[in-house]
Amino acid sequence: MSNNLCDLSQSNEYLSFRSSIPLRKIDVDADGFKVWKIFDSGPKSVTCPLICLPPVSGTADIFFQQVMGLASRGVRVIAAEPPPYWNIKEWCDGFKRLLDYLELDKVHIFGASLGKWICSPKVYRINKELSKILCNTFTDTSVFEYNDSSALFWLLPSLVLKRMLMGNFTAEKVERRIADSVDFMVERVESLTQSELASRLTLNCTPCYVEPQSLHDIPITIVDVWDESALSSTVREDLYKSYPHAKLAHLKSGGNFPYLSRSDEVNLHLLIHLRQFDGTALTSSYLSLHKMPPHNQLQSDEGTVSFFNQRDKFVKIS
């Protein structure tokens, strides 16, 4: 059976992630229906963690390289996967309950192609957001084209929904790391249920008015990939215009899932983003992100690939 798993699922880092960090299921409504799945890593004393939210096609574990990579810098990272929510209000209520349950004061959000709605005023009013990193809104942007039919998603069979999503995945003529990330995501899509897929697609196709002004007072970094498989440049330009004050972290290549295919670069941008809160009450790490961690913390187990853990790759200048 394991032979059929893709390379990333069999990689040492993924296995080490799954064996060291438990998947927690949190029933926020206590009715057994709305269960968030989370991986919570790092010191619980940090109450302003980085929360990673997956795209339509993803599960919480797609952020394993962020969790593992940033853990060595003392950052508390929570990869969270929502249960099926069918509208933005439901999602917001659920998210707020999750944060309350976890006793978090404020959070930094790393949103991977979540669609426009994540920036809607309703989400903003949760009022626990400190900063945001937005990454590659490609997959979902193209799904926006289904606006008219979105009302029907709930009754489409999962096979059809999966086809809709996977139609966006390019696997031709790409380099290995990108191909691996696509394989990994295909596996995640396959694991999703009909209601998970249908609700996420519905949510993403919900028309919503975004008031960029409302976001002007929080720091935003936009991570985007400039290769052909990802966002069209018009979509990117629109995104920049919506957030004129955002820090733009462009990657040359990486495909649609750079957190998997370019995890070290994405982690670097996450670190640079989070670093601005160093030494304040809003920091996401118990260590200073400006300084190199002491060497004993870098004693990596085999299976951790993020560059943070690779001692010999640190810059040493004599």
Partner: protein
């Protein structure tokens, strides 16, 4: 390779602490200069759109910390660099002597495909000061000995040659980028067959 495709150029600035790396970047990107010295802590970057030979390109300029103890970001920021700018202070000979080791350091960390042809640009900064200690001739000689690296004498404070230097940096970076892309026309072999479980053991430098 379509010429319409937007180009991202990654430029890395290296040099001893206090030579003016951050000031040069700020002068170029924001047209600002401050006399106040503040050590850069950890690498950071700014982006700027420039026009090179009628093409709009986006430069992502990485400023680094000259002091070792702040070098906390690892190799990811060297990856995919298109040009490396080495800066020294014309009033401080030691910073000039360090150029060699900065250059070596860069080549080791970034490991570009053709190290001997990788574009570097040398900037002798602070020419506005009187107490000059490294002559232009000496700097030029060194640059010539290193495969004719372009050399500019700059002043971030008085915006002398900054624009010109970065134009050259952008042009050389663009040439490098274009070349790198030609290589990418021949991507690694991809096996889409999930049954082939040998492939993550090929000793590729991928993260597996």
């Amino acid at each position: 390779m379509s010429s319409r495709k937007k180009v991202l150029l990654k430029v890395i600035i290296l040099g001893d602490s206090g030579v003016g790396k951050t000031s040069l970047m700020n002068q170029f990107v924001n047209k600002k200069f401050s006399n106040q010295y503040k050590a850069t802590i950890g690498a950071d970057f700014l982006t700027k759109e420039v026009i090179v030979d009628d093409r709009i390109v986006t430069m992502q300029i990485w400023d680094t910390a000259g002091q070792e103890r702040f070098q906390s970001l690892g190799v990811a920021f060297y990856r995919g660099a298109d040009c490396c700018v080495l800066v020294f202070d014309v009033t401080a000979p030691n910073t000039f002597k360090s150029l060699e080791s900065w250059r070596d350091e860069f080549l080791i960390q970034a490991s570009p495909r053709a190290p001997e042809n990788f574009p570097f640009v040398i900037l002798g900064n602070k020419v506005d000061l009187d107490n000059r200690a490294v002559s232009a001739k000496r700097a030029q000689q060194w640059c010539q000995s290193k495969n004719d690296i372009p050399y500019f004498e700059t002043s971030a404070k008085e915006a002398v040659n900054v624009e010109l230097a970065f134009q050259t940096i952008a042009r050389n970076a663009l040439a490098q980028e274009t070349e790198a892309e030609l290589y990418n026309e021949f991507p690694d072999q991809i096996k889409l067959n999930a049954n082939d479980n040998n492939r993550n053991r090929d000793g590729d430098n991928c993260a597996c």
